[in-house]
């Protein structure tokens, strides 16, 4: 029973962080109608940003760097959105859906190679937020991992508040539902696109910066979280914010219990990621719109 509980706790802790990253992807998808295939690379950039800044300013507490990394990467996201995605929404580009898939994938190819050429393949880690572990009764969890999870939970809550309670959130939702109607009531859809993209990649970067001291960073560190996020957003229902939060937690638990109870321990770790694909295939077969997806798929 303790074993079960300990797997449950560690799965939940990671699932919340997974949800944060997937939420960024969903936000971008629901407003821009673009799946950001470079999401993992923004996660990676967030990690490197915090590592590099902490290397220069050795006196600062590492937690303060997390929002700064998020802002820097969000700034890069704004530039990319304006130069590469906005023309698409201004109908300067034929077949925008295809373009969006390719241009974000191309960006991921570029950024991953750039990081590899610039930083090399060796793992780096910024200073930890806090030393040591916290005893949660049935299992010890590192203070950093717990910090990352708690902060992710707070961010998720704050984000849902913004989306549901503020003018910005209303504007975003309006654009996501009907661009033309939104424009009529004076909301600039282009500005909302930029805001949503910056928010989305900023969240990925924050996730990257939060997890950098826990998992360390390499140029390809974003690949696994990105693929996991794709599975989560399909599971939760494309474009649904609550769906991606629930999806993140479910995937966190599935990975934890999957590896914990897989019959052959020598393969358990290898197959941890494979469970995700099985879920992906099952969702497509049985319930293509996921938990809370819009009806048409």
């Amino acid at each position: 029973m303790d074993y079960f509980l300990s797997l449950l706790i560690t799965g939940l802790i990671l699932g919340i962080i997974y949800a944060l990253m997937a939420l960024g992807l969903t936000l971008i998808f629901s407003i821009l109608n673009v799946i950001n295939f470079a999401h993992g690379e923004f996660y990676m950039l967030g990690g490197y940003a915090s590592y590099l800044i902490l290397g220069v300013f050795t006196g600062i507490h590492p937690l303060l760097i997390v929002p700064i990394s998020g802002l820097i990467v969000a700034g890069l996201g704004i530039l990319f959105e304006i130069f590469f995605l906005r023309p698409m929404h201004e109908e300067q580009i034929a077949r925008p859906a295809e373009y969006a898939v390719l241009v974000t994938f191309g960006l991921s190819f570029f950024l991953q190679n750039l990081a590899l050429a610039q930083f090399g393949p060796y793992p780096h880690a910024p200073r930890p937020f806090f030393e040591g572990s916290v005893d949660l009764g049935v299992v010890n969890v590192s203070a950093d991992r717990l910090t990352a999870s708690v902060l992710s939970l707070l961010l998720l809550g704050a984000l849902l508040l913004i989306i549901n309670k503020t003018w910005l959130g209303k504007a975003l939702r309006a654009v996501s539902q009907d661009k033309q109607a939104a424009a009529v009531v004076g909301i600039n859809p282009n500005a909302m696109n930029t805001v949503a993209f910056a928010l989305g990649v900023g969240l990925a970067a924050v996730a990257g910066a939060l997890l950098a001291p826990v998992f360390s960073i390499t140029p390809d560190v974003g690949a696994v979280p990105a693929i996991r996020s794709y599975i989560i957003i399909v599971l939760g229902g494309m474009g649904s914010l609550p769906g991606s939060i629930l999806g993140g937690v479910v995937i966190g638990l599935v990975e934890s219990f999957g590896a914990g109870y897989f019959p052959d321990p020598s393969r358990a770790l290898n197959y941890k990621t494979v469970f995700g694909l099985l879920i992906f295939a099952l969702v497509l077969l049985l319930r293509p719109r996921g938990f809370f997806g819009r009806k048409e798929v």
């Binding site: 074993y3 590899l116 998992f215 560190v221």
Partner: protein, 462 residues
């Protein structure tokens, strides 16, 4: 239709003209090729012809069935040797780069001392990217295009195993610097020599240590690569021979983020020793996560961190969790340095501004040995070089190096196959960090007993 006749004719003429070019004496061809290479490799001097042209050309003729070119053996003032290793990802290019630097240094030293057989030596280093298929292509290029007379280097076993086949096909001698797989020298090929430990030998140091301490239940988490799989299998077999049967081997992708679920599983019934045999990022992730869970290193469960713990990034990534970890170290600690080691370390740091690792020492010695063998052989004939290597006793940065078994001293039946053309005594030790941030030189040597500077195993204080 008329409009297209002329361009077609021009193209056909061009093709015929190009084809005719190939019938010119092969020496011209070689010059062209070498110029192409000259752009790629550090070697900026344009090499025109080499002594080996004749040998290679006859091979080309056999294989390509082209018109037989008139190839004259030509006098050359350079001897070309080839190096190979990973210089870009997915290979471990830090290791590969160090190897290239060390080999270049060795070649420059030889040239300053008057070269080999009265000629200058040039090193052409090929990037294998850590991919077996690239290794094949690079070796083929070095042998058939650059006409190198001998090869040295390589970091990855999987790549070395394919390179070795190419070298064997063309009969070119290779002194491997770092690949560990038993199958490298186990091939029994005349051309293949190695100055790195074999996996069997390397693992026996750790398994004997485990038996000596008296641990009975051990769990290995190994990366699912060529290196990790061979290591895992070897350990299991050796421990079984030593009477330790409660051994579990778990495979993991070296890019695994989170080992926690499997570590929680292991923590259900903690072993005496937990090993993370993973290179790169996975090594530090697993150690940190085991440490955070309170699983290892603890007074009950020791933690073995394989070889990656010797690198400078180790402490950056694991912090306090690295204290009391023990690991295997290949290469020489400062206490065992000889004059050559001192000189090598000083010169390398002066020239490149970095502290070389064991890999650099191996590449340095391997290159020197290859060149010394050519000098000793008095020619660049493969057979003569091989015979010189077999009988060589060389003092390098790593100490006394020789190859016990070869054609001059056939391998006895009771020795393992990998002892062929193998240096029998590379230095392999078990070290333990007792303080956070220690360097390899400061770590305690706990095994083998004749070199130990501390107790067999100091458990972390309760």
């Amino acid at each position: 239709m008329k409009k297209w006749i002329r361009p077609m004719a021009i193209v056909l003429l061009l093709v015929v003209a190009l084809a005719a070019c190939s019938a010119e004496p092969q020496t011209v061809e070689v010059t062209r090729v070498v110029e192409v290479e000259g752009e790629q490799v550090e070697v900026t001097r344009v090499v025109t012809e080499t002594e080996e042209v004749e040998v290679e050309v006859t091979r080309v003729v056999e294989t390509e069935a082209e018109e037989e070119p008139e190839a004259e053996p030509t006098e050359s003032d350079t001897i070309l040797i080839g190096g190979f290793g990973p210089l870009s990802a997915p290979g471990s290019y830090q290791g590969g780069t160090e190897m290239r630097q060390a080999s270049e240094m060795a070649v420059d030293e030889v040239n300053e001392a008057g070269g080999v057989l009265g000629k200058d030596v040039e090193l052409i280093f090929g990037d294998t990217e850590g991919l077996p298929e690239r290794g094949t292509a690079v070796t083929e290029r070095l042998i058939t295009q650059n006409n190198v007379v001998g090869l040295t280097g390589e970091y990855h076993s999987g790549v070395a195993l394919t390179e070795m086949e190419v070298a064997h096909k063309y009969g070119v001698p290779v002194v491997f610097a770092e690949p560990w797989s038993d199958d490298v020298t186990g091939s029994g090929y005349d051309e293949i020599f190695r100055i790195a430990p074999s996996i069997d030998y390397y693992s026996s140091i750790s398994t004997n240590y485990i038996a000596e301490v008296g641990w009975e239940k051990v769990v290995f988490v190994v990366e699912d690569t060529d290196y990790g799989r061979e290591q895992g299998e070897t350990w299991q077999a050796q421990l079984e021979d030593l009477g330790i049967t409660d051994v579990e081997v778990i495979f993991a992708d070296p890019a695994t983020e989170d080992f926690t679920p499997i570590l929680q599983r292991i923590a259900q019934d903690p072993p005496d020793m937990l090993a993370g045999v993973i290179t790169g990022i996975g090594n530090s992730r697993m150690l940190s996560q085991a440490c955070e869970l309170g699983l290892a290193p603890t007074p009950e469960t020791a933690y073995y961190a394989s070889i990656d713990a010797q690198y400078t990034e180790f402490w950056e990534n694991v912090g306090e969790c690295g204290q009391y970890v023990f690991f295997t170290y290949v290469g020489l600690p400062r206490s065992l340095w000889n004059e050559k080691t001192e000189m090598f370390m000083t010169n390398f740091e002066e020239r490149y501004g970095t502290t070389p690792g064991a890999v650099a020492m191996e590449a340095y010695d391997a290159t020197h040995m290859l060149l010394a063998a050519i000098e000793e052989a008095g020619s660049t004939e493969p057979d003569a070089i091989i015979s010189a290597l077999e009988q060589m006793e060389y003092t390098g940065a790593l100490g006394e190096i020789w190859f016990e078994y070869g054609n001059h001293n056939p391998l006895p039946d009771d020795e393992p196959a990998w002892m062929w053309h193998q240096w029998p005594t590379p230095t392999v030790m078990i070290l333990q960090y007792t303080e956070v941030g220690q360097s390899v030189d400061e770590a305690t040597v706990v095994y083998p007993p004749e070199r130990a500077t501390g107790d067999l195993y100091t458990a972390p204080p309760e």
